[in-house]
């Protein structure tokens, strides 16, 4: 758990060192106010757009007779594999001089709406159709039932997805930088990287953390009011589908349009520049070495994260209590911290506390663990539900000791969930940019950092091979995750 606390401790220590006057001088400026407004505005606009797009798409692919639903489900989830900075780069290289707030909002929406789509689609598939049938039988129309029953059933999933999107936008660095939108993350990075102004970077980080805490607190408060919706006993039939009638073709065209913007633009843009990028002298060895670096640091990060997440996840699932809740929230907070802040704090940690780790891949792996631990803990805790404690009790009653039970019953049952968690951490690690930029050992370049360096100097052709390879490698774990969510399953009985 200490992993999650390093960044917070760092911020507290350094901000205290800076002294009150200095902080006030940095804090109460027009620029900070503008940054805060722009960051929050961007988060608000993108979250709202993602909820609309995500819930709508989820409904179309799970609850209607839309032609080609499974293909559309896959297409709608695939933007997960496209890091925001690649999407931004693709747009910039296609539409010259594209920059500012609204383009950034567009790119971020297209990249992050799967974060709403996936949980909502799962909830829509899992919801009990009997409740909707009861509502219809009590005289409510289809639309009234949708708003009064269905939307409420999926509210927790929608809120969780929206929170992820909001946190993601607040901490996004790549897209806003490429599209030249000044938000906190960009200002922090610029202050640190160009000006070596650590105090300025720190104060800005603290404000960003405060915004994040505010967001988390808001989510917790609404969750308490919304409570949880338990399903009461009984076996469940698969959901019924609404026939769309003639509306199915416009709906399909709309989904094709979204997919074209979210996937088509990057694909075309990368494809066009790929030939030029690959034929550049010496390109191939450089790309391969960067790919190797990306793979090794992401794998190391995923392994370290899962190792830390396993006991935490099992504890959270088996022994719910105040302690586990606090641990869970702390981990969430660390996750919500932008990669820039995590990067800065781990540099400090490396220099002052664990010098042997500084400038090694292990520090980078540790940063990934800090950033992505909650994703992994969530996956493990969810998977632990696959192995109910009743099974373990039976195993013990048959004369098997605790370790044997863990090895022969618990682990085999939660392994698929652990695999999904590892895939998610690996995927996010591959895409991670700011912490990687700050923490990579000198001379070690990953796909993400090479791409970043090339786009920064406008060498779009040189950047294309890195971007293409990154997207292709990321697509694999994405596909695994989507397949596991059940979205691609054949019709379950009808």
């Amino acid at each position: 758990m200490a992993v999650a606390l390093i960044p917070l401790a760092y911020l507290a220590v350094r901000t205290a060192e800076a002294g009150g006057d200095r902080i006030a001088a940095e804090l109460w400026t027009e620029r900070v106010g503008l940054l805060a407004l722009r960051s929050l505005g961007l988060a608000g606009v993108v979250t709202a757009a993602c909820v609309l797009l995500g819930v709508g798409t989820a409904f179309l692919v799970t609850r209607t007779d839309l032609p080609g639903r499974r293909l559309f489900a896959l297409l709608a989830a695939l933007p997960l594999a496209v890091p925001t900075y690649i999407a931004a780069f693709a747009w910039v290289s296609t539409v010259p001089r594209l920059e500012g707030f609204w383009p950034a909002a567009l790119v971020l929406t297209l990249c992050s709406y799967p974060y709403v789509l996936l949980p909502v689609a799962a909830a829509l598939r899992g919801a009990d159709p009997a409740q909707e049938e009861v509502s219809r039988s009590l005289g409510r129309s289809g639309w009234q039932t949708f708003t009064a029953v269905t939307l409420r059933q999926i509210r927790p999933a929608t809120a969780a997805g929206a929170l992820l999107v909001a946190l993601y936008v607040l901490s996004d660095f790549g897209a806003v930088s490429i599209l030249r939108t000044d938000t906190f993350t960009r200002a922090i990075f610029v202050a640190f990287d160009l000006g070596f102004d650590r105090t300025g970077a720190l104060v800005l980080s603290s404000v960003l953390v405060a915004l994040t805490v505010l967001l988390l607190a808001g989510e917790t408060a609404t969750r308490r009011r919304g409570a949880r919706y338990a399903r009461l006993g009984g076996t469940r039939r698969p959901v019924s589908r609404t026939p769309l009638g003639p509306a199915r073709w416009p709906a399909a065209v709309a989904l094709v349009g979204v997919a074209a913007l979210a996937l088509g633009v990057p694909a075309v843009s990368l494809g066009r520049r790929l030939a030029a990028g690959v034929s550049r002298p010496g390109a191939l060895p450089e790309v391969l070495s960067a790919a190797g670096n990306s793979l090794t640091v992401s794998l190391a990060g995923a392994a370290l994260t899962m190792l830390l997440a396993l006991p935490l996840g099992l504890l959270a699932a088996r022994a719910p209590g105040p302690l586990t809740t606090v641990l869970d929230r702390l981990a969430y907070l660390a996750h919500a911290l932008p990669g820039v802040v995590i990067g800065l704090s781990l540099i400090f940690f490396g220099i002052n506390v664990a010098y042997p780790l500084y400038q090694t891949r292990w520090l980078l792996a540790l940063a990934y663990a800090t950033l992505f631990l909650p994703l992994a803990v969530g996956a493990v805790a969810g998977a632990a539900a696959q192995s109910p404690s009743g099974l373990e009790e039976v195993a013990r009653s048959l004369g098997r000791g605790p370790w044997t039970v863990l090895r022969t019953v618990t682990l085999p049952l939660i392994l698929p969930g652990i695999g999904a968690g590892a895939a998610l951490v690996f995927l996010t690690g591959m895409k991670e940019l700011p912490a990687t930029l700050l923490l990579r050992p000198t001379g070690t370049d990953t796909l993400a950092t090479e791409l970043w360096t090339s786009t920064a100097v406008g060498a779009y052709a040189a950047a294309a091979p890195y971007a293409a390879l990154l997207v292709i490698i990321s697509a694999l774990p994405t596909w695994l995750l989507v397949a596991r969510s059940g979205l691609l399953d054949k019709e379950d009985r009808s």
Binding site: P388, V394, L398
Partner: protein, 357 residues
Amino acid sequence: MSEVVLSGVVKRYGRVSALAGVHLSVPSGQLTAVLGPSGCGKTTLLRCLAGFERLDAGEIRIDGTRVAGGGRHLPAHRRRIAVVPQEGALFPHLSVADNVGYGLDRAARRTDRVEEVLTLVGLAGYGDRMPHQLSGGQQQRVAVARALAPRPSVVLLDEPFSALDAGLRVGLRHDVREALRADGATGVLVTHDQGEALSVADQVVVLRDGRVIQAGAPTTIYREPADAWVAGFVGDAVLLPAVVEHGSARTALGVLPVAGTVPDGAVTVLVRPEQVRFSPAPNAVTATVLRHDFHGHDALVGLRLADGTRITARILDGDAAVAIGGEVTVHVDGPARALPVDATTGRPAAAPAPLAA
């Protein structure tokens, strides 16, 4: 094959006593049913026996060896007590054979013990199936076989048939009893279904509010219930106020012989509905038919006696002409059973009473 003895077992959850001093003896090689309404503590009792919960007081001995109580808590995996949970809880990642062989050591797994217990539960040749390929009843059979395989001291069955269809339930519980008998296993069956307890168990233990109210053979529990509550819980009961004089009870149904020796005075007597017969006998009384519930194999007829007392009669001949509102004559076949009266309220005692021997 082991005898299990519980003495003064107490288990509290916060301020609620789930078990408030349970004394119980489970004879070796027999099937004991623990019967009680939901919330009576029967599942807690089972979890204490299995070793999943620690006792707050009292002790549990198996064949004279203390396994729980007095500062000792033998962990579940050392007790040799196998459980069959409500939903079977088969390991979903293991085949039927691997499920059944789970509790066996490596040497025993190579013998034909797995096939032997699968045969006992009527699933010979199913070893290669996976749990999800089995029906609910078959899953329960595998769960029983899995519990029997390592020849545990005791097999605990936690309402193992409650999730099944009524028809399937009857067949399965008799097969399971036969399997336990054939293997010589000591069994404890927890259930809230009195029919199940009476029909399969060698001994029935009635539990209420965390205490044992009565323990005995099924026939004893049914015919000689300790109090009015047990009488009503294990079957349909007609309870009548009565005055006993010289071994006969004066009731609204006439003067009835009373079983056993009962001192003279006011009591409540128990008559089972199947004792109430429609026939013009010398001591018959007249009753008005209020309702007629047809059950196929028999029928329950609600009657009102001349003084307004309502009683129930069970008749085997469902076609018998009983018109609602019509009059019939009834008499009681066999002796009535006097139940103790609570001295303070004058009502039938609901508190623990001396066992009717």
